[in-house]
Amino acid sequence: MKNYDIVIVGGGPAGLAAAVAAKKAGNDSILILERDKELGGILNQCIHNGFGLHTFKEELTGPEYAYRFMEQVFDLNIEYKLNTMVMDISPEKVVTTMNREDGMVEYQAKAVILAMGCRERPRGALNIPGYRPAGIFSAGTAQRLVNIEGYMPGREVVILGSGDIGLIMARRMTLEGAKVKVVAELMPYSGGLKRNIVQCLDDFGIPLKLSHTVVDIEGKERVSAVTIAEVGPDMKPIPGTEERYTCDTLLLSCGLIPENELSKKAGVEMNMITSGPVVNESLETNVPGIFACGNVLHVHDLVDYVSEEAARAGENAAKYAAGQTAATSDKVIKLVATEGARYTVPSTIDVSRMEDLLTVRFRVGAVFKDSYVSVYFDDKQIMHNKKRIMAPGEMEQIILQKKKLEEAGDVQTITIKIEDK
């Protein structure tokens, strides 16, 4: 068995930023494990621009953003293994891997950083009626085929779901000569960014039908038509509103799910709302020394926030591996999201281990206009910030000050809620 201080599972944006931060924090024994044949993760296929405005103050494409971090990994001589699948992580932090050159290899780590990212919700999880012919792809699969492999998945396309990947692929397929006929979205609002709706759909005259879903897929060998219908407030299709589109391809952009099979095997406790690990102020899970960051923790909309979060996980893992983590106190504050706020990351704060400023990220469950983000220390309101708009597709954040929490004394619960006045 080989030994490393820090083993990072995943070489995408989260894993890269965590590795760089851990190295800069003084740790020299880091290994990144990546299952693909190159570092960079999903950014390699996200060839559109708009990445990095917060981090680098310029608009980069996905591969360019990834390379900014890969360059640092190379310059800092951080070790990584490609084409290597992690098979298991034990609660004792033994990481079991497999690849074609070395076969099965086990690594004993002092700290493990979970950075496996997320995957798309597949057709099987969507309950779409109809046949099961070829020609049904998740939007991300289509993106990989077009941008990496150089294949066009189809010529006449219907897209279900208006997540950002679906919108981006509507434009990409159109630019490559396909006809995108319609984008159907089950919810009465789009989960995608306004910028993408305008520049990927409106620019090309592609209709977006809100409160619509797919009710039938036709075709034996290959998709030949898709029928969509309007849904009522109960999310059920309204008879008589069906519209049939002949097409050879259906793309699905219906949400992302953190990929946590390995975390669960390691005994990591999961959050039912985010489908990611429950973490404390140090981004550490309930298993001491196992940290989580990026889309495996909760699905982000901006990679800049992934990098920032991952850097914190990297620094904390370096501290843990060096035995410098402050002892846990028995005073742990619970964070509660309620009344419009769906979840918080982190879930708990140990004030003695907290940094001076702590970013707490959360999402809202519906669209809120001219509402307030309120933060309560037990029953006492300590923050009441007006926001012109909040939407489920846009991650929100508040910043807590350690000083304020210490001044407040014996706080049991911090509550985040959305209030209309």
């Binding site: 390699n44 060839i47 559109h48 621009n49 608009e59 494409t61 591969p63 360019e64 390379y67 077009v146 941008n147 990496i148 492999e149 150089g150 630019l175 490559e176 960014l193 306004k194 910028r195 709706i197 305008v198 520049q199 409106d202 620019d203 206009k369 012109r388 708009i389 909040m390 939407a391 597709g393 846009e394």
Partner: protein, 119 residues
Amino acid sequence: MEKRELTCIGCPMGCQITVELEEGEVKSVKGNTCPIGDNYARNEVTHPERTVTSTVLIEGGDKCRLSVKTKSNIPKAKISECMKEIDAVRIKAPVKIGDVVIKDVAGTGVDVVATRNVG
């Protein structure tokens, strides 16, 4: 008097903006709730621009597609001409980020450059 309807992309509000034009000149901007919307609407109706990203065929490297972008925005009306030129390009590895793949694409004065390394 010509009327144009736009959705602002400045923030998630997505204000519906109505611009009134007379002989190509902006006469009024209505429906926006902040200055970002006014600025966006004026640019969008007079000279809309976009960055185009795509891939080109690359030979002799470890990948079969090279991702590229226009180095800066180009006029929206030039997008399809730009895509035609990108489609026609065949390039040989190695290529580095920032290498020029097409000079002065579609007569815009803007270069198409590589956005990744292919060895």
